[in-house]
């Protein structure tokens, strides 16, 4: 596939986001659900960029969302009275990315030298470790967290603060999902995509082919972390207007990211949105029938998917479509 046509598979994904967004606008009563779905899709898209493309699991992934949340919280609580207006939000977004990138560099410097199981072991404590550093050394107010709803109101006014956290934050989450999608396809269709695919299939052979595997893994890791940072800043900080370390470093968000990516199909472009929608909608209904026990249902589902359908939904669809006109739209 050559030229622009190699980017065709982004069309169905972007159309799906547009449809979800329009559906939400037309049904204000369902906006909360739509926002939740957008969050799951974006989470999957960002997580997939590393896990799906490299075949490495980062069990501490939520730490990047957590630190991104702090990035936004700090800029609003520190800069609210500087007369910068909405510029503070922009600074918050930048800060969340910077924080996430710095943390991913620190973690990646150790973990990405390690192979397979050792990588997983190195990452599994990152979220808890970071949480306890914040609490233990009383960084950023320690375990009391940061509550910045007042600063946000004073900065932009009550009305604007309200619409920021009930609407515009969600719009930004859509934005993160779209950025993640575009980055994913640019990577997949670029040299880095071939490098990551090669190292996912056979890391030693990839090295022999001249692939600097560590370098490409780090690029994917940092990109995925930066997206998580943005997601924390928008879906958590702006929406909730507070941050507590015990909440934003909880491992169950990593669990959700894993479920979404596996349901949809790891390493595919369309997978995260499919997985995100399946997960989000079923979780929504499970919350009605089995409140609080959604994970009890989903954890066995992960095992079933791993054992019986390792390609996920999109992987199976893709196989069905080989040789048809639709093939070039699915990735």
């Amino acid at each position: 596939m050559k030229g622009a046509s190699r980017y065709l598979p982004s069309i169905p994904v972007l159309l799906a986001y547009a449809a979800l967004f329009v559906f939400g606008l037309l049904n204000p009563g369902r906006w909360q659900l739509v926002a939740q779905l957008a969050f799951y899709c974006a989470l999957g898209q960002a997580f997939n960029l590393f896990m799906g493309m490299t075949g490495y699991v980062d069990f501490g992934y939520v730490a990047f969302l957590g630190i991104g949340t702090y990035g936004m919280a700090i800029s609003i609580s520190e800069l609210a009275d500087k007369g910068l207006g909405l510029g503070v939000i922009v600074i918050g977004l930048i800060l969340s990315v910077v924080f996430a990138v710095l943390l991913s560099l620190a973690v990646g410097a150790v973990a990405l030298r390690l192979r397979g199981a050792y990588f997983a072991i190195a990452t599994i404590g990152v979220n808890e470790g970071f949480r306890y550093l914040i609490e233990g050394a009383r960084i950023w107010n320690g375990s009391e967290g940061i509550i910045f709803s007042r600063q946000l109101r004073e900065m932009v006014g009550r009305e604007a603060a309200m619409s920021l956290s009930t609407f515009w934050a969600d719009v930004m989450v859509f934005g993160v999902a779209v950025i993640a999608t575009v980055l994913t396809i640019v990577y997949m269709r670029g040299k880095i995509g071939y490098a990551l695919a090669a190292l996912r299939m056979d890391e030693d052979a990839a090295k022999v082919m001249g692939i600097n595997v560590t370098r490409f893994k780090i690029i994917a890791f940092i990109t995925s972390a930066a997206l998580a940072g943005l997601l924390g800043a928008t879906a958590w900080a702006l929406k909730l207007t507070y941050v507590f370390p015990a909440d934003v470093f909880g491992i169950h968000y990593t669990v959700e990211a894993i479920i979404i990516v596996l349901l949809g199909g790891a390493g595919t472009l369309l997978g995260p949105i499919v997985g995100g929608l399946i997960y989000g909608v079923s979780k929504y209904y499970l919350a009605v029938y089995l409140p609080g026990f959604q994970l009890l249902v989903f954890a066995p589902v992960i095992i079933v998917v791993i054992v019986l359908f390792p390609e996920g939904t999109v992987g199976m669809i893709k196989r069905k479509l080989i040789g048809t006109a639709l093939e070039k739209y699915i990735l």
Binding site: K2, R189, Y194, A195, A198, K207, V208, G210
Partner: protein, 249 residues
């Protein structure tokens, strides 16, 4: 000036000395065969030359650069390509993509974009006669097709030195002759030095190599022009000393 110089290189696995104080040289464009019974240390020597393993002792020079501590990918960039004894295709990528990966990241990789790499891949697919399999997943090829694909993938890296590990194992005499011709052709067309490991296929050794290095229990036994090497009594002894059952393993 030699292309590759291996100086007193030793590699141990626990108590086992897999490569024992080996010294050898390869000139630009030379064609050389390394032979030796199973477990002689041939594959390990390859792994040391291209950086899959690091030598415990000794030095390795490539184009007069000391590459002893270079990682495998750097040596690939410098122009060392290789195929594997047990094929290692990127199984869920297509044949074209496999070969394109070689083009994208090998010695000419930094100047090659994805589209160019795909075109180069098509060229090499034609060269090895796999055009009809271009869009097949590499995992689905037959063992011999996989070997051919690996050769194409290594050639697409534009190497100056190509290490071929048992490229002809499992082939019948007709295919071996074809392979020998093919290797000779690419060597003269692309001007690369080739080192082929050939276990017991004397037919190939005689037809292919200008020089033969015989390894035995990790050490270099003989390093002579082909004619002399093949009539060396020590070589004959090493070969006849190996029970036939083991030789086929």
């Amino acid at each position: 000036m030699s292309l590759l110089r291996v100086e007193n290189v030793t590699k141990r696995f626990g108590g086992l000395v897999a490569v024992d104080n080996v010294t050898m040289e390869i000139a630009h464009g030379e064609m050389m065969a390394i032979v030796g019974p199973n477990g002689a240390g041939k594959t390990t020597l390859f792994n040391l030359i291209n950086g899959v393993f690091f030598a415990d002792e000794g030095k390795i020079w490539f184009e007069d650069v000391d590459v002893t501590h270079y990682p495998a990918y750097k040596r690939a960039h410098m122009g060392i390509g290789r195929t594997f004894q047990i094929s290692r295709p990127f199984a869920s990528a297509t044949v074209q993509e496999n070969i394109a990966i070689g083009a994208m990241f090998g010695a000419a990789g930094s100047e090659t974009n994805v589209d160019q790499a795909m075109e180069m891949a098509d060229h090499y697919i034609g060269l090895i006669g796999l055009s009809s399999h271009r869009d097949k997943l590499a995992g689905g090829l037959t063992p011999i097709e996989k070997k051919m694909m690996e050769i194409a993938r290594a050639l697409a890296m534009k190497p100056r030195l190509l290490l071929m590990d048992e490229a002809m194992a499992g082939m019948n005499p007709k295919d071996i002759d074809k392979m020998v011709d093919f290797i000779k052709r690419i060597r003269s067309e692309e001007g690369i030095a080739i080192v082929a490991l050939v276990e017991h296929i004397m037919r190939a050794v005689a037809g292919l190599a200008e020089r033969v290095l015989v390894m035995h229990q990790g050490a270099k036994l003989v390093d002579e022009p082909t004619k002399i090497a093949l009539s060396d009594p020590r070589v004959i002894e090493v070969y006849l000393g190996v029970p036939p059952g083991e030789a086929d393993a």
